[in-house]
Amino acid sequence: MEINPAQWDQESRNSMDAYLDAVEAVLLEQKTPRSERILILGELESQIHAVIALRLEAGAELQPDLVRSIIESLDTPESYRIDAQHANAGSPIGSELESKTHTSEAKESVSIDSGVGSTKERDPRFQAVHWLGKLAAYRQRSRIDEFAIASCICALGALLIAASTGRDREAGIVLTGLLLTVGCCLGWFSTYRIKRSDGKLWGGRLAFTGGMILPFMLANIAAITLVVQTPLWILILIAAVLFANYWVIRRTWAWIASQSLVPSTVSVPDQQVSHATGSTIPAV
Protein backbone atom coordinates (compact mmCIF):
# COMPACT_ATOMS: atom_id res chain seq x y z
CA MET A 1 0.00 0.00 0.00
CA GLU A 2 1.27 3.42 -0.81
CA ILE A 3 0.54 6.55 1.12
CA ASN A 4 1.33 9.97 -0.14
CA PRO A 5 3.33 12.03 2.40
CA ALA A 6 1.00 14.92 1.61
CA GLN A 7 -1.70 12.97 3.42
CA TRP A 8 0.32 12.94 6.61
CA ASP A 9 -0.82 15.18 9.38
CA GLN A 10 1.49 17.91 10.58
CA GLU A 11 2.38 16.15 13.81
CA SER A 12 3.53 13.00 11.99
CA ARG A 13 5.63 15.02 9.60
CA ASN A 14 7.13 16.98 12.48
CA SER A 15 8.04 13.76 14.27
CA MET A 16 9.84 12.40 11.25
CA ASP A 17 11.58 15.68 10.47
CA ALA A 18 12.75 16.03 14.07
CA TYR A 19 14.19 12.52 14.02
CA LEU A 20 15.95 13.03 10.69
CA ASP A 21 17.27 16.40 11.84
CA ALA A 22 18.65 14.82 15.00
CA VAL A 23 20.41 12.11 12.99
CA GLU A 24 21.78 14.71 10.62
CA ALA A 25 23.06 16.77 13.54
CA VAL A 26 25.03 13.77 14.79
CA LEU A 27 26.37 13.07 11.30
CA LEU A 28 27.36 16.71 10.91
CA GLU A 29 29.09 16.61 14.25
CA GLN A 30 31.00 13.56 13.04
CA LYS A 31 31.95 15.49 9.91
CA THR A 32 30.38 12.84 7.73
CA PRO A 33 30.74 13.87 4.08
CA ARG A 34 27.69 15.53 2.61
CA SER A 35 27.13 12.85 -0.01
CA GLU A 36 27.08 10.18 2.71
CA ARG A 37 24.73 12.20 4.89
CA ILE A 38 22.29 12.55 2.01
CA LEU A 39 22.37 8.81 1.41
CA ILE A 40 21.94 7.89 5.05
CA LEU A 41 19.04 10.28 5.60
CA GLY A 42 17.42 9.22 2.34
CA GLU A 43 17.60 5.58 3.36
CA LEU A 44 16.14 6.35 6.76
CA GLU A 45 13.26 8.27 5.24
CA SER A 46 12.62 5.43 2.80
CA GLN A 47 12.63 2.95 5.66
CA ILE A 48 10.10 4.97 7.64
CA HIS A 49 7.80 5.09 4.62
CA ALA A 50 8.27 1.37 3.99
CA VAL A 51 7.41 0.46 7.58
CA ILE A 52 4.38 2.73 7.52
CA ALA A 53 3.21 1.02 4.35
CA LEU A 54 3.65 -2.38 6.01
CA ARG A 55 1.67 -1.30 9.07
CA LEU A 56 -1.10 0.15 6.92
CA GLU A 57 -1.29 -3.11 5.03
CA ALA A 58 -1.69 -4.86 8.34
CA GLY A 59 -4.73 -2.73 9.06
CA ALA A 60 -3.29 0.15 11.07
CA GLU A 61 -4.43 3.70 10.50
CA LEU A 62 -2.16 6.56 9.69
CA GLN A 63 -2.07 8.48 12.93
CA PRO A 64 0.63 10.43 14.74
CA ASP A 65 0.98 7.56 17.21
CA LEU A 66 1.82 5.17 14.41
CA VAL A 67 4.58 7.37 13.03
CA ARG A 68 5.86 8.04 16.54
CA SER A 69 5.99 4.36 17.40
CA ILE A 70 7.84 3.59 14.17
CA ILE A 71 10.38 6.30 14.87
CA GLU A 72 10.81 5.00 18.41
CA SER A 73 11.53 1.56 17.00
CA LEU A 74 14.44 2.96 14.99
CA ASP A 75 17.96 3.37 16.33
CA THR A 76 18.45 6.53 18.32
CA PRO A 77 20.28 9.39 16.61
CA GLU A 78 23.16 8.81 19.02
CA SER A 79 23.61 5.36 17.48
CA TYR A 80 25.04 7.11 14.42
CA ARG A 81 27.93 8.35 16.49
CA ILE A 82 30.97 6.32 15.63
CA ASP A 83 31.89 5.92 19.29
CA ALA A 84 28.40 4.64 20.04
CA GLN A 85 28.63 2.19 17.17
CA HIS A 86 31.92 1.03 18.57
CA ALA A 87 30.36 0.46 21.97
CA ASN A 88 27.31 -1.21 20.50
CA ALA A 89 29.47 -3.35 18.30
CA GLY A 90 27.60 -2.48 15.25
CA SER A 91 30.00 -0.73 12.97
CA PRO A 92 32.11 -2.62 10.50
CA ILE A 93 35.77 -2.77 11.25
CA GLY A 94 36.48 -2.18 7.60
CA SER A 95 34.51 1.01 7.83
CA GLU A 96 36.43 2.14 10.84
CA LEU A 97 39.75 1.36 9.26
CA GLU A 98 39.04 2.79 5.87
CA SER A 99 37.18 5.85 7.00
CA LYS A 100 39.71 6.61 9.65
CA THR A 101 40.59 9.72 7.72
CA HIS A 102 37.09 11.00 8.43
CA THR A 103 37.14 9.93 12.05
CA SER A 104 40.60 11.11 12.87
CA GLU A 105 39.87 14.30 11.04
CA ALA A 106 36.74 14.77 13.11
CA LYS A 107 38.51 14.00 16.35
CA GLU A 108 41.38 16.28 15.47
CA SER A 109 39.13 19.14 14.61
CA VAL A 110 37.09 18.61 17.74
CA SER A 111 40.21 18.74 19.85
CA ILE A 112 41.28 21.89 18.07
CA ASP A 113 37.91 23.54 18.31
CA SER A 114 37.34 22.69 21.93
CA GLY A 115 40.89 22.88 23.17
CA VAL A 116 42.41 25.90 24.81
CA GLY A 117 45.73 25.84 23.07
CA SER A 118 47.68 22.71 23.89
CA THR A 119 51.27 22.36 22.78
CA LYS A 120 50.15 20.04 20.01
CA GLU A 121 47.73 22.59 18.65
CA ARG A 122 50.28 25.35 18.67
CA ASP A 123 52.86 23.23 16.90
CA PRO A 124 52.97 24.48 13.29
CA ARG A 125 54.01 21.01 12.13
CA PHE A 126 50.87 19.60 13.66
CA GLN A 127 48.80 22.28 11.99
CA ALA A 128 50.42 21.51 8.64
CA VAL A 129 49.78 17.81 9.04
CA HIS A 130 46.24 18.56 10.12
CA TRP A 131 45.53 20.63 7.03
CA LEU A 132 47.26 18.13 4.79
CA GLY A 133 45.08 15.44 6.35
CA LYS A 134 41.99 17.52 5.74
CA LEU A 135 43.03 18.09 2.15
CA ALA A 136 43.73 14.38 1.63
CA ALA A 137 40.40 13.44 3.18
CA TYR A 138 38.62 15.96 1.00
CA ARG A 139 40.33 14.70 -2.12
CA GLN A 140 39.47 11.14 -1.14
CA ARG A 141 35.76 11.76 -0.91
CA SER A 142 35.30 14.53 -3.44
CA ARG A 143 37.32 14.90 -6.61
CA ILE A 144 37.28 17.06 -9.66
CA ASP A 145 35.85 15.41 -12.72
CA GLU A 146 38.66 14.57 -15.11
CA PHE A 147 36.39 15.04 -18.12
CA ALA A 148 35.93 18.68 -17.12
CA ILE A 149 39.69 19.17 -17.18
CA ALA A 150 40.00 17.31 -20.50
CA SER A 151 37.25 19.46 -21.96
CA CYS A 152 38.98 22.68 -21.03
CA ILE A 153 42.36 21.40 -22.24
CA CYS A 154 40.77 20.62 -25.61
CA ALA A 155 39.21 24.08 -25.77
CA LEU A 156 42.46 25.75 -24.78
CA GLY A 157 44.39 23.68 -27.34
CA ALA A 158 41.91 24.67 -30.03
CA LEU A 159 42.33 28.35 -29.21
CA LEU A 160 46.13 28.07 -29.27
CA ILE A 161 46.06 26.25 -32.60
CA ALA A 162 43.67 28.81 -34.02
CA ALA A 163 45.90 31.66 -32.83
CA SER A 164 49.08 30.14 -34.23
CA THR A 165 47.67 28.91 -37.52
CA GLY A 166 49.89 30.31 -40.23
CA ARG A 167 50.98 28.29 -43.20
CA ASP A 168 48.77 25.27 -43.08
CA ARG A 169 45.52 27.12 -42.53
CA GLU A 170 43.12 24.38 -43.59
CA ALA A 171 44.69 21.78 -41.33
CA GLY A 172 44.63 24.26 -38.46
CA ILE A 173 40.95 24.97 -38.98
CA VAL A 174 40.10 21.25 -39.10
CA LEU A 175 42.12 20.51 -35.98
CA THR A 176 40.63 23.49 -34.16
CA GLY A 177 37.12 22.41 -35.09
CA LEU A 178 37.82 18.85 -34.03
CA LEU A 179 39.25 19.88 -30.68
CA LEU A 180 36.37 22.27 -30.04
CA THR A 181 33.85 19.56 -30.85
CA VAL A 182 35.57 17.06 -28.58
CA GLY A 183 35.90 19.67 -25.83
CA CYS A 184 32.23 20.58 -26.14
CA CYS A 185 31.09 16.93 -25.97
CA LEU A 186 33.38 16.22 -23.01
CA GLY A 187 32.14 19.36 -21.28
CA TRP A 188 28.51 18.36 -21.49
CA PHE A 189 29.28 14.76 -20.59
CA SER A 190 31.19 16.03 -17.58
CA THR A 191 28.36 18.36 -16.58
CA TYR A 192 26.01 15.38 -16.68
CA ARG A 193 28.37 13.26 -14.58
CA ILE A 194 28.84 16.00 -12.02
CA LYS A 195 25.10 16.52 -11.72
CA ARG A 196 24.55 12.80 -11.25
CA SER A 197 27.41 12.35 -8.77
CA ASP A 198 25.46 13.59 -5.77
CA GLY A 199 28.25 15.90 -4.65
CA LYS A 200 31.11 13.45 -5.17
CA LEU A 201 32.46 15.16 -8.26
CA TRP A 202 33.06 18.86 -8.65
CA GLY A 203 34.22 21.19 -11.38
CA GLY A 204 30.79 22.08 -12.72
CA ARG A 205 31.83 25.55 -13.85
CA LEU A 206 34.87 24.16 -15.64
CA ALA A 207 32.75 21.56 -17.40
CA PHE A 208 30.15 24.16 -18.28
CA THR A 209 32.83 26.39 -19.80
CA GLY A 210 34.08 23.50 -21.91
CA GLY A 211 30.58 22.59 -22.99
CA MET A 212 29.64 26.11 -24.01
CA ILE A 213 32.80 27.19 -25.78
CA LEU A 214 32.02 25.68 -29.18
CA PRO A 215 28.42 26.91 -29.42
CA PHE A 216 29.51 30.37 -28.37
CA MET A 217 32.44 30.56 -30.71
CA LEU A 218 30.19 29.54 -33.59
CA ALA A 219 27.51 32.00 -32.55
CA ASN A 220 29.98 34.82 -32.11
CA ILE A 221 31.74 34.13 -35.39
CA ALA A 222 28.40 34.02 -37.17
CA ALA A 223 27.31 37.27 -35.57
CA ILE A 224 30.53 39.08 -36.35
CA THR A 225 30.64 37.74 -39.91
CA LEU A 226 27.12 38.94 -40.50
CA VAL A 227 27.75 42.44 -39.26
CA VAL A 228 31.27 42.98 -40.48
CA GLN A 229 29.89 44.66 -43.60
CA THR A 230 28.54 47.51 -41.52
CA PRO A 231 31.51 48.87 -39.58
CA LEU A 232 29.54 51.66 -37.95
CA TRP A 233 27.47 49.24 -36.03
CA ILE A 234 30.23 46.87 -35.07
CA LEU A 235 30.75 48.26 -31.59
CA ILE A 236 27.06 48.22 -30.78
CA LEU A 237 26.69 44.75 -32.15
CA ILE A 238 29.68 43.45 -30.25
CA ALA A 239 28.12 44.82 -27.08
CA ALA A 240 24.84 43.19 -28.02
CA VAL A 241 26.60 39.89 -28.69
CA LEU A 242 28.38 40.06 -25.35
CA PHE A 243 25.12 40.83 -23.59
CA ALA A 244 23.41 37.97 -25.41
CA ASN A 245 26.25 35.65 -24.42
CA TYR A 246 25.92 36.68 -20.80
CA TRP A 247 22.16 36.27 -20.86
CA VAL A 248 22.26 32.84 -22.50
CA ILE A 249 25.00 31.65 -20.15
CA ARG A 250 23.01 32.76 -17.11
CA ARG A 251 19.81 31.13 -18.34
CA THR A 252 21.55 27.90 -19.31
CA TRP A 253 23.44 27.71 -16.03
CA ALA A 254 20.25 28.31 -14.08
CA TRP A 255 18.51 25.61 -16.08
CA ILE A 256 21.30 23.14 -15.40
CA ALA A 257 21.25 23.99 -11.71
CA SER A 258 17.52 23.36 -11.57
CA GLN A 259 17.78 19.88 -13.11
CA SER A 260 17.97 17.04 -10.65
CA LEU A 261 18.62 14.49 -13.43
CA VAL A 262 16.84 11.86 -11.40
CA PRO A 263 15.59 9.17 -13.77
CA SER A 264 11.85 9.11 -14.15
CA THR A 265 9.87 6.28 -12.63
CA VAL A 266 10.45 3.01 -14.43
CA SER A 267 7.96 0.38 -13.41
CA VAL A 268 8.59 0.21 -9.69
CA PRO A 269 7.74 -3.24 -8.46
CA ASP A 270 4.95 -3.15 -5.93
CA GLN A 271 6.70 -5.59 -3.70
CA GLN A 272 10.19 -6.89 -3.57
CA VAL A 273 10.77 -10.29 -2.08
CA SER A 274 13.73 -10.76 0.14
CA HIS A 275 15.28 -13.92 -1.28
CA ALA A 276 16.72 -15.34 1.83
CA THR A 277 13.89 -14.66 4.21
CA GLY A 278 10.95 -14.73 1.89
CA SER A 279 9.62 -11.59 3.55
CA THR A 280 8.12 -8.94 1.39
CA ILE A 281 9.02 -5.33 1.54
CA PRO A 282 6.66 -2.97 -0.21
CA ALA A 283 8.01 -0.43 -2.63
CA VAL A 284 6.97 2.98 -1.43
Partner: protein, 115 residues
Protein backbone atom coordinates in the same frame (compact mmCIF):
# COMPACT_ATOMS: atom_id res chain seq x y z
CA UNK B 1 29.06 -15.78 24.98
CA UNK B 2 31.04 -12.60 25.48
CA UNK B 3 29.11 -9.91 23.63
CA UNK B 4 32.15 -7.82 22.78
CA UNK B 5 33.90 -10.81 21.22
CA UNK B 6 30.86 -11.49 19.04
CA UNK B 7 30.63 -7.85 18.11
CA UNK B 8 34.25 -7.75 17.05
CA UNK B 9 33.68 -10.81 14.91
CA UNK B 10 30.63 -9.21 13.39
CA UNK B 11 32.40 -5.98 12.65
CA UNK B 12 35.12 -7.72 10.76
CA UNK B 13 32.83 -9.40 8.30
CA UNK B 14 30.06 -6.85 7.97
CA UNK B 15 31.41 -5.26 4.83
CA UNK B 16 31.81 -8.69 3.26
CA UNK B 17 28.20 -9.56 4.14
CA UNK B 18 26.77 -6.34 2.73
CA UNK B 19 28.76 -6.66 -0.48
CA UNK B 20 27.61 -10.27 -0.82
CA UNK B 21 23.95 -9.28 -0.36
CA UNK B 22 24.20 -6.54 -2.96
CA UNK B 23 26.02 -8.92 -5.31
CA UNK B 24 23.06 -11.30 -5.34
CA UNK B 25 20.69 -8.74 -6.77
CA UNK B 26 20.20 -5.03 -7.07
CA UNK B 27 18.66 -4.04 -3.79
CA UNK B 28 17.87 -1.09 -1.57
CA UNK B 29 18.92 -0.08 1.91
CA UNK B 30 15.98 -1.30 3.93
CA UNK B 31 16.10 -4.69 2.22
CA UNK B 32 19.74 -4.99 3.25
CA UNK B 33 18.84 -4.11 6.84
CA UNK B 34 16.07 -6.72 6.82
CA UNK B 35 18.35 -9.34 5.34
CA UNK B 36 21.11 -8.65 7.84
CA UNK B 37 18.65 -8.55 10.71
CA UNK B 38 17.46 -12.04 9.90
CA UNK B 39 20.92 -13.53 9.53
CA UNK B 40 21.85 -15.33 12.76
CA UNK B 41 24.89 -13.77 14.36
CA UNK B 42 24.81 -10.77 12.07
CA UNK B 43 21.85 -8.87 13.49
CA UNK B 44 22.74 -5.28 12.84
CA UNK B 45 20.43 -2.33 12.49
CA UNK B 46 20.03 0.61 10.20
CA UNK B 47 22.48 2.83 12.07
CA UNK B 48 25.19 0.38 11.07
CA UNK B 49 24.04 -0.59 7.61
CA UNK B 50 23.21 2.82 6.13
CA UNK B 51 26.51 4.51 6.98
CA UNK B 52 28.28 1.46 5.57
CA UNK B 53 26.25 1.56 2.37
CA UNK B 54 26.94 5.29 2.08
CA UNK B 55 30.64 4.77 2.58
CA UNK B 56 30.82 1.91 0.09
CA UNK B 57 28.91 4.02 -2.38
CA UNK B 58 31.17 6.99 -1.75
CA UNK B 59 34.20 4.79 -2.30
CA UNK B 60 32.84 3.70 -5.66
CA UNK B 61 32.28 0.09 -4.64
CA UNK B 62 28.53 0.36 -5.10
CA UNK B 63 26.61 1.73 -8.05
CA UNK B 64 23.52 3.72 -7.28
CA UNK B 65 20.30 3.90 -9.24
CA UNK B 66 17.64 6.29 -8.04
CA UNK B 67 14.04 5.57 -8.79
CA UNK B 68 11.27 8.04 -8.17
CA UNK B 69 8.43 6.96 -5.99
CA UNK B 70 4.87 8.24 -6.12
CA UNK B 71 4.77 8.09 -2.34
CA UNK B 72 7.77 8.90 -0.22
CA UNK B 73 11.29 9.81 -1.18
CA UNK B 74 13.09 8.37 -4.20
CA UNK B 75 14.39 4.90 -3.53
CA UNK B 76 18.06 4.14 -4.04
CA UNK B 77 18.94 0.79 -5.54
CA UNK B 78 22.46 -0.50 -5.03
CA UNK B 79 24.48 -2.85 -7.18
CA UNK B 80 28.14 -3.76 -7.19
CA UNK B 81 30.53 -1.79 -9.36
CA UNK B 82 33.57 -3.46 -10.91
CA UNK B 83 35.60 -2.25 -7.93
CA UNK B 84 32.97 -3.64 -5.58
CA UNK B 85 33.12 -7.05 -7.24
CA UNK B 86 36.89 -7.05 -6.93
CA UNK B 87 36.67 -6.05 -3.28
CA UNK B 88 34.10 -8.79 -2.65
CA UNK B 89 36.37 -11.39 -4.23
CA UNK B 90 39.29 -10.25 -2.09
CA UNK B 91 37.27 -10.27 1.12
CA UNK B 92 35.65 -13.60 0.31
CA UNK B 93 39.01 -15.15 -0.42
CA UNK B 94 40.45 -13.84 2.83
CA UNK B 95 37.38 -15.05 4.70
CA UNK B 96 37.68 -18.53 3.21
CA UNK B 97 41.32 -18.69 4.24
CA UNK B 98 40.51 -17.59 7.77
CA UNK B 99 37.64 -20.05 8.11
CA UNK B 100 39.79 -22.91 6.84
CA UNK B 101 42.67 -22.02 9.09
CA UNK B 102 40.54 -21.58 12.20
CA UNK B 103 38.65 -24.80 11.46
CA UNK B 104 41.89 -26.71 11.20
CA UNK B 105 43.00 -25.27 14.52
CA UNK B 106 39.85 -26.06 16.44
CA UNK B 107 39.44 -29.57 15.08
CA UNK B 108 40.36 -32.22 17.61
CA UNK B 109 43.88 -33.46 17.15
CA UNK B 110 44.23 -37.03 15.67
CA UNK B 111 45.71 -38.32 18.90
CA UNK B 112 42.73 -37.03 20.82
CA UNK B 113 40.43 -38.96 18.48
CA UNK B 114 42.30 -42.14 19.20
CA UNK B 115 41.72 -41.64 22.89
Amino acid sequence: MDASWLSQMRKGVLELCVLAIVDREETYGYAVVERMGKTPGMEVTESTVYPLLARLSNDGLLKLRIEKSSAGPPRRYYSLSAGGKKRLRELASTWATIVGSVASLIEPAPSACLD
